[in-house]
């Protein structure tokens, strides 16, 4: 049985359809890459999966049960959402922001305990943020801010992590770090759905890709199957570069991390 | 003999008329002068009174005023009335006063002082100007008689203050102070150095510990924070043994013969207080 399953999800804004009958499925331990050109409906699909917006039609199940029957907090413990743009209203410290990720596990009267503290420390270390703990969020660079927000989602220890373009603000080294963290999350038995624009990263890290185009699924399956010349031409209006008569496949990642790569 | 006498009388009358011919079209632009005018003048002498004179809550001459045209103290209205005398008070708009003076209208000023003697003087002067000297004297005598009728001066005057909505009290040089004194009360506010109409904190009133509190709320209609202040629990406790005494507001709007009636009301309150 799949962990998360969406069937015929549709959403329109006024007369304009944004998602049309999209099916999706996610297995435990799987990392699913959502790709597609701008406006394809990737972020909208992710927000529906996160429960932030409701689809006009279609059904969404978690462990075979309708998601809408779950209480807010129970759903928040299992599904974490990392939106693309995150403005922070107040210049809180990095540590406090990461701490907020434990909220779904706390009763209203509880405060962060020792167990929570351990998780926070571990994630802070993994996201390379130990040195920034006491810094105010607004004094960090864009890449550092993105890592703080990822850390916030990771400390929730969700079964499913939904990440909307988590690497777009990052330099190559930190892009790889973040992708590795997401993959590590999967290796611990959890699942990840990640929206990516970088097809090489998507091909390299994701177990499976789903290509959206104009609100519908154009292709779905392994990177090899999805990223063929026809799909790329249809969806992105691009062609693969040929060097010495050989096609450079997006499945080959042109760089790797020097120290942290495993 | 008879003819001689009549002739002499005629000569006397005509000479009086040339010396000070009584005005025949008097205009009053203020409630205070309205009341004195209607009490002293013959009806045919009055050209117009102010619009407030018909308000029974404020005016003692509301019924009489109904017979006369009203004005709102506007220069245009007054000029159209072709007055031969205009009564003005210290409250009259100075601009109106200058305008009327410039246009050559005779003005008769009233002092509207707060002492009993000031009132007597205002009445006497206006009566003379109106050619109604004897009516003025009899009004003054009535007032004096009214004051003396119940005036057994107490050796130790009981204490009192006036307390109005918004916490206003009447200190020295106010009508209320004069009335309290004439009625044999001791006005604590004046003694404590309050001058004129002044708001005092409630705490101050509690410190003074007045034996009696008089009040004259303007009307009973409507609600306001100002009026609610008179029902403050602290005041209620102070007043538990001596309930607040209400003297209608209209007695205090103008200095005039009504002061004698107000004094009578205050005297009655003092007698009631003594007999408790």
């Amino acid at each position: 049985m799949s962990l998360l399953n969406g069937r015929a999800l549709s959403l329109s804004r006024g007369q304009r359809p944004i998602l049309k009958d999209v099916d999706m499925t996610l297995q435990p331990g799987e990392m699913l890459g959502l790709i597609g050109p701008n406006g394809a409906g990737k972020s909208t699909l992710l927000r529906i999966l996160a429960g932030v917006i409701e689809p006009d039609a279609g059904e969404l199940t978690l462990d075979g049960q309708g998601v809408e029957s779950l209480p807010h907090q129970a759903r928040a413990r299992r599904i974490a959402y990392l939106p693309q743009l995150s403005e922070i209203a107040w210049p809180m410290s990095v540590e406090r922001i990461i701490e907020l990720g434990r909220t779904p596990h706390l009763e209203p009267w509880q405060s962060v305990g020792d167990e929570d503290r351990e998780i926070i420390d571990r994630v802070t270390r993994q996201t390379d943020l130990l040195a920034f703990r006491d810094r105010a969020f607004n004094t960090l660079s864009g890449g550092e801010q993105a890592r703080v927000l990822l850390a916030r989602a990771l400390v929730t220890e969700p079964d499913i992590l939904l990440a909307d373009e988590p690497v777009s603000a990052l330099d190559p080294a930190h892009q790889l770090d973040v992708m590795n963290l997401l993959r590590q999350h999967c290796e611990n038995g959890h699942s990840v759905i990640v929206v990516l624009h970088d097809l090489s990263l998507a091909a390299h890290y994701c177990h499976r890709l789903q290509l959206l185009h104009q609100g519908s699924t154009l292709a779905e399956g392994s990177a090899e199957a999805v990223l063929n010349e026809k799909n790329l031409a249809d969806a992105y209006d691009i062609a693969l570069t040929k060097t010495n008569g050989k096609v450079l496949k997006p499945t080959s990642l042109p760089w790797r991390r020097l120290h942290k790569d495993d | 003999m008879q003819i001689k006498a009549i002739a002499a009388l005629l000569i006397l009358l005509s000479s009086l008329a040339t010396v000070a011919e009584p005005p025949q079209r008097v205009v009053s632009v203020n409630l205070c002068s309205d009341q004195l005018l209607l009490m002293l003048a013959d009806p045919q002498q009055v050209a117009s009174v102010s619009y407030l004179s018909r308000d029974p809550d404020s005016s003692f001459v509301a019924d009489q005023a109904a017979a006369f045209p009203l004005n709102h103290a506007r220069a245009e209205e007054i000029i159209r009335l072709k007055p031969d005398l205009i009564l003005v008070t210290p409250h009259t708009n100075p601009r109106l006063r200058t305008t009327l003076k410039k246009l050559g209208y005779p003005l008769h000023p009233l002092s509207l002082g707060h002492r009993f003697d000031d009132i007597v003087e205002d009445i006497r002067q206006l009566a003379t100007r109106l050619g109604q000297g004897s009516r003025g004297e009899s009004l003054i005598q009535q007032m004096q008689k009214r004051l003396q009728s119940e005036a057994e001066e107490p050796t130790h005057p009981p204490t009192a203050i006036f307390l109005q909505p918004r916490g206003y009290t009447s200190g020295s040089d106010t009508l209320q102070d004069e009335a309290l004194r004439l009625a044999g009360w001791h006005n604590l506010a004046a003694q404590q150095g309050v001058e004129g109409y002044t708001p005092v904190p409630l705490e101050q009133v509690l410190h003074w510990q007045p034996g009696t509190i008089f009040t004259s709320a303007y009307t009973g209609s409507g609600d306001s924070l100002a009026e609610r202040q008179l029902h403050h629990p602290a005041l209620q406790r102070l007043l538990a043994k001596h309930p607040m005494v209400e003297i209608p507001y209209k007695y205090w709007i103008c200095p005039g013969p009504m002061l004698a009636d107000a004094v009578a009301l205050l005297q009655q309150a003092r007698v009631r207080e003594r007999d408790r």
């Binding site: 607004n138 | 904190p201 209609s221 009026e227």
Partner: protein
């Protein structure tokens, strides 16, 4: 851990300052009050004038300043956190002027005489209506500018209506009370007003109780907060109602007192690490402190009668606020 200690220290200092100020506030008035003698009288057989002044005037006045100030400070912190906007405060988003309008309608046109709680209910309804109008005008994600513009419009409208209605009111004293409703005053309040103030205040506070967590989550944006388990429509309804209850009750007794809800959360926010949940209680305490101090200032200033307490809160508040703007200019806060 260190943050928790700092938080405790902040609350202890504020609490201590409140106790000292409250005691001082009992001794200050038109006449000095020998506190010990007043207390002896109050507990003794024979009630004297000192006990009367203490129990009927100064204790109610001090408690009302404390409660109303706390409500204004707390609601300022709540509105700012809820709308994620540092300028949202009861004075700016219309709650205060709306409450004044509601209270004026009930008091001067005979509804307050119907039953004791008509007055605060009028204030609450006015606060709720005005706040919702501003909120709807500005939109849920409206920026600071739209919020201020909507607030200015609704405030001006409400205060113009207050003026007009007081001119039309049957009581001849109403016109002279315009300043009181616009600037606020604690002069001559009694225990009656305390009872009027209390239920709405407590209900409002209870509704805010334990809502710090979702307000913290809102720091991360509405979508993130909602994905993290915050029930935002419910939270919004609850907090708007809470602000209307608390501010409506306070303003219907004191008139519209400005600046406390804006300035107090601002001043305290850096001291609590900018975290909304940690800001709530200190803001309530700070508001109570500021209003009590302002009210003492009103009593100490050597003017005939009393100036309005709102004049003093604005005199203290506005320069602080200017300093804050200058201090933060150039920073993205």
């Amino acid at each position: 851990m260190i943050a928790a200690v700092r938080q405790h220290r902040l609350m202890l200092s504020l609490g201590g300052a409140i106790v000292i100020t409250a005691l001082l506030s009992l001794t200050i008035g038109s006449q000095p009050l020998p506190l010990m003698q007043a207390l002896q009288e109050s507990f003794g057989e024979k009630a004297g004038v000192y006990s009367l002044i203490l129990t009927e005037l100064r204790i109610p006045r001090t408690l009302i300043a404390l409660l109303a100030g706390a409500s204004l400070g707390l609601c300022g912190a709540v509105m700012q956190s809820l709308l994620r906007n540092p300028l949202a405060s009861p004075g700016l988003v219309g709650s205060a002027s709306g409450a004044a309008l509601g209270a004026v309608i009930t008091l001067y046109f005979g509804f307050a005489g119907l039953f004791a709680y008509a007055l605060p209910l009028g204030g609450m309804a006015g606060a709720l209506l005005a706040t919702l109008t501003v909120y709807l005008l500005a939109g849920r994600d409206g920026g600071t500018l739209t919020l201020i513009l909507a607030g200015v419009a609704v405030n001006a409208f409400a205060l113009a209506l207050v003026s007009l209605l007081l001119n039309l009111a049957p009581s001849p004293y109403a016109v002279q009370e315009i300043a009181l409703w616009m600037l606020g005053s604690l002069a001559n309040v009694s225990r009656n007003e305390l009872w009027i103030l209390l239920p709405g205040t407590i209900l409002g506070w209870l509704l805010i109780w334990r809502q710090g967590r979702p307000l913290d989550l809102l720091t991360l944006g509405e979508e993130t907060a909602s994905s993290m388990g915050a029930d935002l429509p419910n939270l919004r309804r609850r907090l708007f109602l809470a602000v209307a209850l608390a501010v409506g009750s306070a303003i219907s007794v004191t008139g519209a007192i400005g600046f406390i809800g804006l300035v107090v959360p601002h001043l305290l926010r850096p001291l609590v690490g900018y975290q909304p949940s940690r800001l709530l209680i200190p803001s309530a305490m700070g508001g109570a402190l500021l209003l009590m101090l302002a009210d003492m200032g009103v009593r100490l200033l050597p003017v005939q009668g009393e100036i309005k307490v709102g004049v003093v809160t604005s005199l203290i508040g506005a320069p602080f606020f200017l300093w804050l703007i200058l201090h933060h200019r150039g920073r993205d806060v």
